[in-house]
């Protein structure tokens, strides 16, 4: 029965006229369709290629046969095989007079050739002829081909005819001509820049289809330069109004919607034009309101227009009424069962949230549903939304979620993206250093090979510098917690290289700093790392340097150093390493071990990673030595630049006579090649160096050998020892190379690593530029993360209240996050400690007692509790509350300070607090949506 049906279908096809194919082709298609494996398919296609190669060589192939061969070629190429042997036949076919053959030819060449292909030159002439054809179908075929085959160089050849076609009688031709022009504009805006007025003119075309086609290029033009199209706002609005009022012919309706694609394009253009422009936006209010009322949300296309309206409203300066309408539409999308609409709803929410941040609150349940959805697209869109609405109060929940998802996926591309987002959010909103390090550890552990090296460097810098606060105690606590977490992670198998580098560096720098861990313990761990990742030289290098630092600290502090046997063997192994870098480090380590304490201390002082190292670039300490050498008869040094600069002057003058435009053919004899340099640096006082002139003579005969090579002769490139390459491109590239200033070339101006101050400022400033209106709350948090003002910590304190640790935050609705004190006026002053933090020094001392008592209350000083998910809530409480107390006190808020000192003394109260935290510290990954209130606040 099935077979009968197919036969019937084939019969029907045969009767369709013009599109039927021969038996051979059908056979081919069928056998490929039935192929069981890729290998079988390849075999069939290869034999087909052989057949076609043979047949194409036959003389006098009938045209209809030829047409079929071409189609078979196209088919083969779609299956991924090379059909280039037949391209020329396709090109020939475009010359044919028969419309069928011509169209087939054009189809084949548009699929085969790219715009820079050599064969295009053979088609341009045909296209020109066809554009002038009386038959509009031929014209259309040619226009179709233009879109794919014409490049920047060939545009002028067809441009006049295409412009003429803008006034063609048939609207189909006008439409396609506009689109072809649009294509030209995309390829080379300069080539059609004088024709842009034509697009405006065609906007008033009698045919709505042509008008609709004009919107595509106008959209591009407007997005490039909004200001020069402001005058069209009212035209666009009136067009949109007419479309929605069904003034267009019925044939433009689609599923009862009047010309929906035109409406969508118009809304996109209006969104661009109304962005940040109040008066332009006001013109649109009416029609947008109408659209919300008229759009049929039961059809797909109706929803497409609704979504476009939401998007438009999120771009322009909206009226409150429109915002309300948009919010309604979004809630309809989110409540829908269709995943597509949910996706659009989440997207719309993400756009609107910038304007009215509280809109998300009413949709929190829907958002969480989307986050749990099996649909990956929807999930990612939701993460994008969360990313947009992250703030200090919900960062912990959001980043936790993101990391869970990051761990669960395999798609490296997206993993990279989400990892970098986690890092960005953590950097912007981290509530505490410990949390930040914990998050970074997770990111590195699961996506270490995908994150940017800079992230690792930032982390190291953060650990080294602390948070820039004048609080060494907190810094050393931070370091200790980092060291502890790394010691725990380090024994896990297969850590990413980048993470190991960070670990090794931190262990080397701070592993023994607190005296909690012995040097032999840390060095043992480092040797394990070097051993386990023996193929990774970078990690090994970091490990050896870390070893060196630890031994240096030991020696400097006067302790006796016992080099572990495994460390000894590691050093011995590396002394013979193939990598010179590792070898050098090993020798340095060996040399260091034999030095006395004083010498070692000046080589590697303790905790000096943040000190600036001054480099004497001029090597002035050698001046005495040089003086001595010159006095004893040595030649003064002439820099290479000066030497060649000298040469340059001589040649520069000789070259002046025949200064010829570079593109024209030059017929004089070759010039001698000479070393690369920049003429302007010439100095005439120097002794010429004889060597290059000798070289010049040697090459003279070669360079005069051919006139046609004249152009390629490179007047500025040093060619000795280099194989000479002739031809125009090398000439051009060499001139551009020689035009770069010498400083850039010799690398002296290359900048050292970004400074400390700028690193702390950078993330913040980029953040500010992205979202123009940040509330002071966020600003303060960002500040607390990346620099000075200690008062910012208070924010965290207030948002989390007494319910520490981190996860407890989720219980508190956002509205209960009052900021108890006004922000200090010099918030943005990152460089120096703020006045408030200066006053804070006194309370610090008083708090020392408190610190002890609170940690006793906690029952343990083990900060590692932070890193195990399970329980030790109490310990974190002590640390966190300490931190927040410190910040509070530093802010000089007497009330809180008082209560805390009393609390610190009152162990009963602290115990109560512990109990409360135990109650509240529920894991927010549970299904309970109320936990996410914070997330949506």
């Amino acid at each position: 029965m099935e077979q009968l049906k197919t036969i019937g279908r084939e019969l029907a096809m045969g009767s369709q006229g013009g599109f039927g194919q021969s038996k051979e082709f059908l056979d081919l298609v069928k056998s490929i369709g039935e192929a069981r494996s890729k290998a079988e398919e390849d075999r069939i296609v290869l034999s087909e290629i052989d057949t076609l190669k043979r047949k194409l060589l036959e003389p006098d192939i009938p045209k209809r046969k030829m047409k079929e061969y071409i189609i078979r070629l196209v088919y083969i190429e779609m299956l991924g095989h090379d059909a280039s042997f037949g391209y020329i036949h396709a090109v020939k076919m475009t010359h044919d007079d028969s419309l069928l053959l011509k169209r087939t030819g054009y189809l084949a060449v548009t699929l085969f050739l790219n715009e820079d292909h050599d064969l295009i030159i053979l088609i341009v002439n045909t296209i020109q002829k066809d554009l002038r054809s009386d038959n509009y179908l031929v014209v259309c075929a040619a226009l179709n081909a233009i879109c794919r085959l014409i490049n920047e160089e060939t545009i002028p050849a067809v441009l006049p005819q295409v412009v003429e076609l803008l006034n063609h009688g048939k609207e189909a031709v006008r439409k396609k001509a506009i689109m072809a022009l649009h294509r030209f504009h995309r390829k080379s805006p300069s080539s059609v820049s004088h024709l842009i007025s034509n697009f405006r003119k065609r906007l008033c075309d009698n045919d709505p289809g042509v008008m609709g086609a004009t919107l595509c290029p106008l959209f591009d033009l407007v997005s490039e330069d909004v200001s020069s199209y402001k005058d069209l706002v009212s035209s666009f609005v009136s067009i949109l109004k007419q479309v929605t009022e069904r003034k267009l012919p019925k044939s433009y309706d689609y599923h009862q919607m009047p010309a929906p694609f035109i409406q969508i394009k118009l809304l996109k253009i209006l969104a661009l034009l109304g962005s940040g422009d109040k008066s332009a936006s006001e013109i649109m209010y009416m029609v947008l309101g109408d659209l919300f009322r008229k759009c049929d949300s039961s059809t797909n296309i109706g929803n497409a227009i609704l979504y476009e309206c939401i998007r438009c409203i999120s771009c322009i300066i909206p009226s409150p009424k429109l915002l309300e309408a948009a919010a309604d539409a979004i809630s309809k999308f989110l409540k829908s069962d269709s995943h597509n609409l949910k996706y659009m709803g989440i997207d719309g929410l993400g756009r609107l949230i910038k304007i009215s941040p509280d809109i998300a609150e009413q949709h929190q349940l829907a958002v969480i549903d989307c986050l749990e959805d099996p649909d990956d697209t929807l999930k990612r869109k939701t993460f994008e939304l969360l990313y947009k609405m992250t703030k200090s109060s919900n960062v912990e929940v959001i980043v936790d979620r993101m990391i869970d998802y990051m761990i669960s996926i395999n798609d490296n591309h997206y993993k990279t993206e989400i990892a970098s987002r986690c890092v960005e959010l953590a950097e912007q909103f981290a509530p505490s250093n410990q949390w930040f390090i914990q998050i970074m550890n997770k990111v590195f552990e699961h996506a270490g090979d995908l994150v940017n090296v800079k992230v690792a460097h930032n982390l190291m810098r953060l650990i080294a510098e602390g948070f820039g606060e004048e609080d060494d105690d907190a810094d050393s606590k931070l370091r200790l917690s980092a060291v502890e977490s790394y010691l725990q992670i380090i024994s896990e198998p297969k850590l990413p290289s980048l993470f190991l580098q960070v670990i090794s560096w931190v262990l080397g720098e701070y592993g023994t700093a607190d005296g909690k861990y012995s040097a032999s313990y840390i060095t043992g761990k480092l040797c394990d790392v070097a051993d386990a990742y023996s193929s990774d030289e970078t990690v090994k290098g970091y490990a050896v340097s870390a070893l060196m630092k630890i031994y240096a600290f030991e020696i400097a502090s006067g302790r006796k150093v016992d080099v572990l046997p495994e460390c000894q063997s590691l050093i011995e192994e590396l002394l013979a390493s193939h990598s010179t870098d590792l070898q050098q480090r090993a020798y340095e380590l060996q040399a260091l071990l034999s030095l006395d304490a004083r010498a070692v201390e000046s080589i590697l002082p303790l905790d000096a990673s943040c000190e600036d190292i001054e480099v004497d670039k001029d090597l002035s300490f050698l001046n005495g030595y040089i003086q001595q050498a010159i006095e004893s008869g040595a030649q003064p040094y002439i820099s290479e630049r000066e030497r060649s600069g000298m040469l340059e002057t001589t040649d520069y003058h000789s070259q002046d006579h025949h200064e010829v435009p570079s593109h024209a053919l030059r017929f004089e004899a070759y010039e001698r090649p000479k070393p690369a340099s920049v003429p302007t640096q010439a100095s005439t006082e120097l002794v010429p160096v004889p060597e290059p002139s000798y070289y010049r003579e040697a090459h003279q005969p070669i360079s005069t050998s051919s006139v046609s090579e004249r152009e390629s002769s490179d007047i500025k490139l040093r060619l000795d020892g280099v194989k000479q390459k002739w031809g125009r491109p090398s000439y051009q590239s060499s001139t551009s190379a020689s035009s770069t200033p010498p400083q850039a070339a010799n690398g002296t101006s290359s900048h050292p690593d970004v400074g400390v101050g700028s690193s702390s400022l950078k993330p913040r400033s980029s953040y500010e530029s992205k979202k123009p209106e940040i509330d002071p709350e966020k600003q303060r948090l960002a500040a607390s993360l990346f620099g000075g003002s200690s008062s910012s910590r208070s924010d965290r304190k207030s948002s989390s209240g007494g319910h520490k640790p981190a996860k407890g935050t989720a219980n508190k609705p956002p509205k209960e996050n009052p900021i108890p004190v006004q922000p200090p006026p010099d918030l943005l002053d990152f460089g120096e400690p703020t006045a408030t933090s200066v006053t804070a020094t006194d309370p610090f001392k008083e708090l020392e007692g408190l610190m002890d008592s609170s940690s006793q209350d906690g029952g343990s000083t083990d900060v590692m509790g932070l890193y195990s998910d399970a329980a030790p809530v109490t310990t974190t409480t002590s640390v966190d509350s300490l931190l927040s107390e410190l910040s509070d006190s530093s802010k000089g808020n007497p009330g809180i300070y008082q209560s805390q000192t009393s609390k610190g003394l009152n162990s009963k109260e602290a115990l109560e607090k512990d109990a409360l935290v135990r109650q509240m510290g529920v894991n927010p990954t549970s299904q309970n949506p109320t936990l996410f209130k914070d997330l949506l606040g």
Binding site: Q3, R9, Q16, L99, A213
Partner: protein, 166 residues
């Protein structure tokens, strides 16, 4: 702008592919394979959208629709509306349905050049040209008529089904 149109069957064989920017044959194959592996890992009853930056560069999206044995795929950039693109697939399928009355995969395979004709009337150089399937059909029929007239030789073999009967 629309970057590519693809029709891939459920076994991953491309039935029609058109890229509006030039791609080498190898690149095309790679993209088709990449798209297919993304598509077949999608569960039933989820959205028809995919963000496909990894294959087509930043900000590219993909809309697909699954009909019987075929995936219809559109790849486009931020200047298009996802839902509208979904309807464009609908337009394409509706037109094909009118063209071949009750279209199926076989029609698409055996009418390769006609498929391209239809597609060219809907999407032109990466922009949406026409969304009314009746209008598209009119244009396609006009082309076929003129082609037939311009070509005296009959291109239709007398019996197409003969090969089946062997």
């Amino acid at each position: 702008m629309i970057k590519a149109v693809m029709m891939i069957n459920t076994q991953g064989k491309p039935r029609l592919s058109k890229f509006y920017d030039f791609m080498t044959v190898e690149k095309q194959q790679e993209l088709i394979r990449g798209v297919f592996s993304e598509l077949c890992s999608r569960p039933e009853n989820v959205s028809n959208f995919l963000e496909i930056d990894s294959l087509f560069g930043p900000d590219s999206r993909l809309v697909y629709k699954h009909y019987a044995t075929l995936y219809f795929v559109l790849v486009f950039d931020a200047s298009e509306n996802e839902l509208a693109m979904l309807d464009l697939i609908q337009v394409l399928v509706e037109t094909l349905d009118k063209c071949f009355s009750n279209v199926c995969e076989l029609d698409i395979v055996f009418n390769y050049s006609k498929m391209h004709t239809v597609l060219d009337e809907i999407v032109f150089g990466g922009q949406v040209l026409e969304t009314n399937s009746t209008e598209v059909m009119k244009a396609v029929e006009e082309i076929s008529k003129l082609e037939a007239a311009s070509n005296a030789i009959s291109l239709v073999p007398k019996s197409v089904s003969g090969w089946r009967g062997r």
